[in-house]
Amino acid sequence: MLDQTARIRRLQLPVARAVASPEVLVAASYLMALSLAELLLLSSGVLAGALAHGALLLMLIAHYVAAPGVGYRRLLLPLALPSLMRLVGLAVPVVSTPQTVWLVTAGTPILVAAVLCARAVGGVRPSMLGWPRDPLAQLAVAAGGLMHGLLAYLVLRPGPIIARLEPAQVALASVILIVFVAFTEELIFRGVIQSVAAETLGGPAAGIAVSVITSVIVYAASLSVPFVLLMAAVSFFFSWIVKESGSLWGVIGAHALLVIGLLIVWPFVIR
């Protein structure tokens, strides 16, 4: 009996050490702060939300600047991206309602931030955006986005972001969604956050966990539990694919087809 207890303790010790490590505690604290900021935004309005996200953004950057020697430092900057994304999204200077204009005006600063962050922390390896090792597998992953988009539409039923299903409008809106939604979000969640979390928290599983949790927090603003659960599953699948393949192109393609289906095609096809 004593022998068995000692064996269990020996097994539990590394897990307990990993969970209680400063890296994991700091990451968990900031993810909780991000959830609180989102909760404030949804419950108390835009000003409270903007202040909370702004404070979190400043805190993360100050922590990064002031703590040069700590092991988790590189993760602090990527964790600031969701707050920056929300702050820019709220302040977006749009007076008209076309959602494509919103996506460009909010998406451009966030794409710039994602690229600068990837450069600053060195999260995205060149191979992740280079020619993939197995292009056919990446194409298959991308094609799966059609199914994800259909499922997401059946769950959420959003309205279309274009007025009519005309080729010119579809093409323009698709390009905007590919660049400012699919590419930008995958660069942030799978490219920067997942890679840096895996390196700083001690393994690919931690990278996937942080990436999925961050995605779930930002998608929680949809206020639809089934949609958040679906996006959690999709995020987990995307993260696993990036971990296994080492390329972002497949999931960028899948994300692009997901949003094009969700916001352009399915709202006109299935009424």
Binding site: V46, L47, L116, P158
Partner: protein, 81 residues
């Protein structure tokens, strides 16, 4: 429905006028930009071996907020004219 602008956030934004948003959320964004620019200048002046690395970190938020600031100011001026 994207992570960038979720539907609930879009609806919240639409429930306020641009005038209100630019004097509340826009102001918060501009204040944060001001704080970051001051921090940038302090780090640049004091230098040190890690100054470049710290400036890179600040730039991650400064450039996007600068783009947002330009947008807010331009739309605000256009709406006043």
């Amino acid at each position: 429905m994207t992570a960038l602008i979720p539907e609930s956030v879009r609806q919240t934004i639409l429930s306020f006028t641009f005038d209100y948003r630019s004097t509340t959320v826009g102001l918060v964004a501009i204040l944060i930009l001001g704080i970051l620019l001051i921090a940038r200048e302090i780090i640049r002046v004091h230098g040190g071996p890690r100054a470049a690395d710290r400036l890179d970190a600040l730039n991650v938020a400064i450039y996007p907020l600068l783009l947002t600031f330009i947008g807010v100011v331009v739309v605000r001026i256009v709406s006043l004219i």
